[in-house]
């Protein structure tokens, strides 16, 4: 849940990159880290195995330009995609404000995408949250690969709600900032709506 500190005029939101193993979540974060103004980001904390698989999570604090006089900070996390680390995924997902679901576009990863998406919904449900109340966007990564499935299939399989989606090549940066900006906008919009309703 986002925190709003009126005394310090500060908003802090939590964004999580979710998706199956090896889909490019950490690559997204690394690209953001490398291509963001150093004054507006902290260090990228990453706990990985020698095989460059995320062991616990990646964390990157970002600071957006002031909005209506409020300092807006985003804490960006990734989850470990491997099936065995569900407890960690669940923990990372706690109090999330927005999710970027990173799907691997390869045909052979379609099943894993579906399972990961389902797992995300289950983990959200364990916190009494759902995708009805938590903003999320879809990022279809690895679009440059020959084995990438057509966009129409990705949409049909993963995005029947037709939320915003982005084609990406995270390793080259394509679609990375587009996804991040979209979720930031949705999260803040959702936050403002809640505030107007007195839910915050």
């Amino acid at each position: 849940m986002a925190s709003v500190n009126y005394a310090l005029k500060e908003i802090c939101c939590k964004i999580v990159y979710y998706g199956p193993g090896m889909c490019g979540k950490t690559t997204n974060l690394q690209y953001i880290h490398q291509h963001t103004n150093t004054e507006r980001r902290g260090n990228l904390v990453s706990l990985a195995t020698p095989g460059e698989r995320t062991l616990f999570f990646d964390f990157l604090p970002l600071e957006a330009p002031r909005l209506h006089g409020f300092e807006t900070k985003f804490q960006v996390y990734t989850v470990p995609g491997q099936v065995m680390y569900n407890s960690t995924r669940k923990l990372v997902l706690r109090a999330v404000d927005g999710v970027i679901f990173v799907a691997d576009s390869q045909y052979e990863k379609m099943r894993e995408n579906v399972e990961s998406f389902r797992n995300m919904k289950e983990n959200l449900a364990s916190y009494s949250c759902s995708l009805e109340t938590t903003p999320y966007v879809m990022q279809y990564n690895k679009r440059d690969l020959d084995s990438a499935a057509p966009l129409r299939l990705m949409q049909y399989v993963l995005n029947p709600r037709q939320v915003p989606h982005f084609e990406a090549m995270a390793i080259e940066g394509a679609g990375v900032f587009e996804s991040l900006n979209a979720i930031c906008k949705l999260v803040l919009g959702n936050l403002r709506t809640k505030q107007q309703r007195g839910a915050l």
Binding site: I32, H35, T36, N37, R40, L62, A64, P65, L67, T72, F74, Y107, M110, R111, E112, N113, V114, E115, L131, E132, T133, T134, P135, S147, A149, P150, R152, L153, Q155, Y156, V157, N159, P160, R161, Q162, V163, P164, G173, F177, L180, N181, C184, K185, L186, L188, G189, N190, L191, R192, T193, Q195, Q196
Partner: protein, 305 residues
């Protein structure tokens, strides 16, 4: 394509021959061991044999299939009897008379019995019983949502549904003692309530793709399989198209093998390019509330530097 010779074929042919012999005995007005069978009894025995044969073909009792099969078997029997009698009268130098043709004793009863067995086997088992046209007619022309509702909510007692299930019943004979190869029709029911595409069509899958995944004792006669979108799309939501063999037409499984629910996976790169874009069109969805929120004025929070 269907296999013509199998354990079921042989067994039912024998049963049909016995039925035909009974028919001959009845028409000759004699009995096998000096006992005279009343026509009504002989007719009942014959009907019981036919019922048994149809049960054997279907694997379980189904009223619709029984009625359809009995009518078809009796129709074939009358045709063959008529032909036999007419032949006998012609051979004897008489001009066939309609009344005599129907009422006279059979000519060459064993030959008639065998002909009856073969013709009945082919026509009734392979053509009449697998009929499921009523369902196709009912489904055509309705919206995808209605199709889903139809598939999901169809009552087991519905005679239309029973007609479709009569075909599938051949494959579900769990109590059959015959381990034979049987055709597997396409299942009529969708497993989940997923909106079917507006576009109707088929995906062609080469037999080789399927054959390499079949269990050792299953067989495939067709050079390629045609799989309708209505079978593929509900499974696409799972990120893979894994189809139970019972859903494929042209694949023959040993009876009893369905206990293990064998299935094959169709490669997405093979089937997705065959499906037109419009088939993937998603129905209008109610957007979540957060998507309608208009609280943030900025479009760009972070930019690449």
């Amino acid at each position: 394509m269907k296999r013509d010779i199998s354990g079921t074929s042989v067994a039912t042919a024998i049963l049909l021959i016995v039925a035909a012999i009974l028919l001959c005995i009845k028409l000759h007005g004699m009995d096998a061991h000096g006992l005279r069978l009343p026509p009504v009894v002989a007719l009942l025995i014959e009907a019981a044999f036919y019922g048994g044969v149809i049960y054997l073909w279907c694997g379980r009792f189904n009223l619709w299939a029984q009625a359809l099969g009995l009518v078809a078997l009796f129709a074939i029997r009358i045709l063959i009897s008529t032909a036999g009698i007419a032949g006998a009268q012609l051979e004897a130098g008489h001009r066939p008379v309609l009344g005599a043709v129907i009422l006279s004793p059979l000519w060459q009863s064993w030959m008639t019995a065998a002909a009856f067995a073969v013709v009945a086997l082919h026509l009734v088992r392979n053509a009449v019983l697998p009929m499921k046209a009523p369902e196709a007619r009912q489904v055509a022309g309705v919206s995808p949502a209605a199709k889903v509702a139809f598939d999901t909510l169809r009552a087991p007692s519905d005679p239309v549904g029973q007609a479709a299930e009569a075909a599938a019943a051949t494959l579900e004979a769990e109590e059959s003692t015959f381990r034979v190869l049987e055709p597997r029709p396409i299942a009529a029911k969708a497993t989940t309530a997923v909106a079917l595409p507006e576009v109707e069509g088929w995906v062609t899958v080469p037999a080789a793709v399927v054959a390499e995944q079949l269990p050792g004792d299953a067989e495939l006669d067709a050079p390629e399989l045609l799989i309708p979108y209505s079978v593929i799309f509900p499974k696409l939501r799972e990120g893979e198209v894994r189809i139970r063999l019972s859903e494929l037409d042209g694949v023959y499984l040993p009876l009893g093998a369905e206990d293990n629910e064998p299935s094959i996976e169709l490669p997405l790169p093979l089937i997705v390019p065959q499906i037109p874009d419009e088939a993937f069109e998603l129905p209008e969805a109610q957007p979540p509330a957060w998507l309608l929120a208009d609280g943030a004025l900025e479009d760009i929070f972070f930019a690449k530097v």
